[in-house]
Each structure stands twice: as C-alpha cells, then as structure tokens.
Amino acid sequence: MKRFEIVTGPILVQDIIDKVIRAEAGAVNTFIGTVRELTKGKRTVFLKYEAYIPMAERQLAKIGDEISARWPGSRTAISHRIGSLDISDIAVVIAVSTPHRAEAFDACRYAIERIKEIVPIWKKEHWDNGEMWVGDQLETAAYSKGHPESEEDKND
C-alpha cells in the first residue's frame, strides 16, 4: 500500500482514508482539491496536471516525514492525480490521522501548503479562449492567450 502516490486515474477518497485509519487515531482530516469551474469570473473548461513523477512521489513522502516529526502519532497519505481533469474532478486527496482532532487539521493544512511549495506538479488551465501553465506568468505574457491573474487566485 503506497501512501504517497501520483496517479493517472480517479482517486477514491475512501481508499486514502483507509491508509491512515488506526485504533490509536481518533481523528482523520481530509483535504480534497477539486477542479473549480470559475476563478474570478473566468471559466475553466478543463485542467491538465503534469508531474515529475518519481521526484513528486519522493517529495510527497518527505511531507509525510515532516508531519510525522512535527505531529508524533500521526499518519499521512497523499494521492495526486495527473493528466486531464474535468470540472469537479478530484485532483488531490490528503488524509491525516492523529490521536486528537486539533493536530489532524493542522497537519493536513500543513500538507497542502507544502504540496504547493515543494512538489514538482504543474497545472495548466484551459479556458474557452486560451490556456496557461499556472505559476508560469513570469515569461509568458505573450505565450498566454488568456488573462493572467494574481498567483493567489489561481493556485488554490
């Protein structure tokens, strides 16, 4: 059972939860990132995620190690999907189990923030009238056929 995975098909939330439920745990927090249709009024048609797969899985496992060190007694599982995703499809599922509830929230929150910092995965938004690699607006004002928006709006 691989607890940190990049997958190419749909993610079943229960599978990820099953990897962390244990008799010692009283709480599981789960974060599910889905494809949102509208970002500041702009309509996403679909998304494409790409990853540097072996490094991404290694980095997800590293996040799990960081969480274990910071929240002793916790267990974490993360699956991130790549490829083409439609609106409402699940892109990422994080599950963290802990003895008590406060740490489950904190650790899961930590995981999603770290994913957005250190895991080599990239999202390309496709709109009716263009497409753009999110986070890539630096060099690509010309490349992007759509409207770049602030980093904060797009990357969550």
Binding site: P54, A56, P120, K124
Partner: protein, 78 residues
C-alpha cells in the same frame, strides 16, 4: 552524458522534455547558461528551481555523467 529534464511551459517552449549533454562534469549554473544561449531566452530560469537525481540542488552543485538534472518551474499542484 548528463540528462536534463524540462517540464510544463519550459518543456513546451523548448519543444522537448529531455536533453542529453555530452559533458562529463558540469555545474548547474553552466547548464543554465548553455540552455539560455541555446534557446535565446536569458530569463528562462527565473523562478525556477533545480534538482539533481530527484533532490533539490543549487546553482553551484556539480553533476557528472549518469546524473539527471531537472529544472522545476514554479509548481502549481494541489
């Protein structure tokens, strides 16, 4: 031979996911300079991190035959 991997927008602009460099030993900064010249794109590594054999590395890191260098543009997973 050193393998270089490109991703996302960087890969699309370069038109390839992978390059092979014949050198036996190079610093990351040397590779960056070579690619900036090759693609005539002096800003192509702005905001970009580097990894050697799947671990983050800095510009001074030396790589040699058999190593895999990956350039990691700003990530946007999650």
């Amino acid at each position: 031979m050193i393998k270089v991997l490109l991703f996302a927008g960087m890969q699309e602009r370069a038109g390839t996911a992978e390059l092979q460099l014949d050198e036996v030993r190079l610093r990351i900064s040397d590779i960056k300079s070579a690619l900036e010249k090759k693609y005539d794109s002096p800003q192509m590594f702005i905001g970009c991190l580097s990894a050697v054999n799947e671990e983050f590395a800095d510009d001074d890191t030396e790589v040699s035959t058999g190593d895999t260098v990956a350039f990691i543009p700003p990530v946007s997973g999650g």
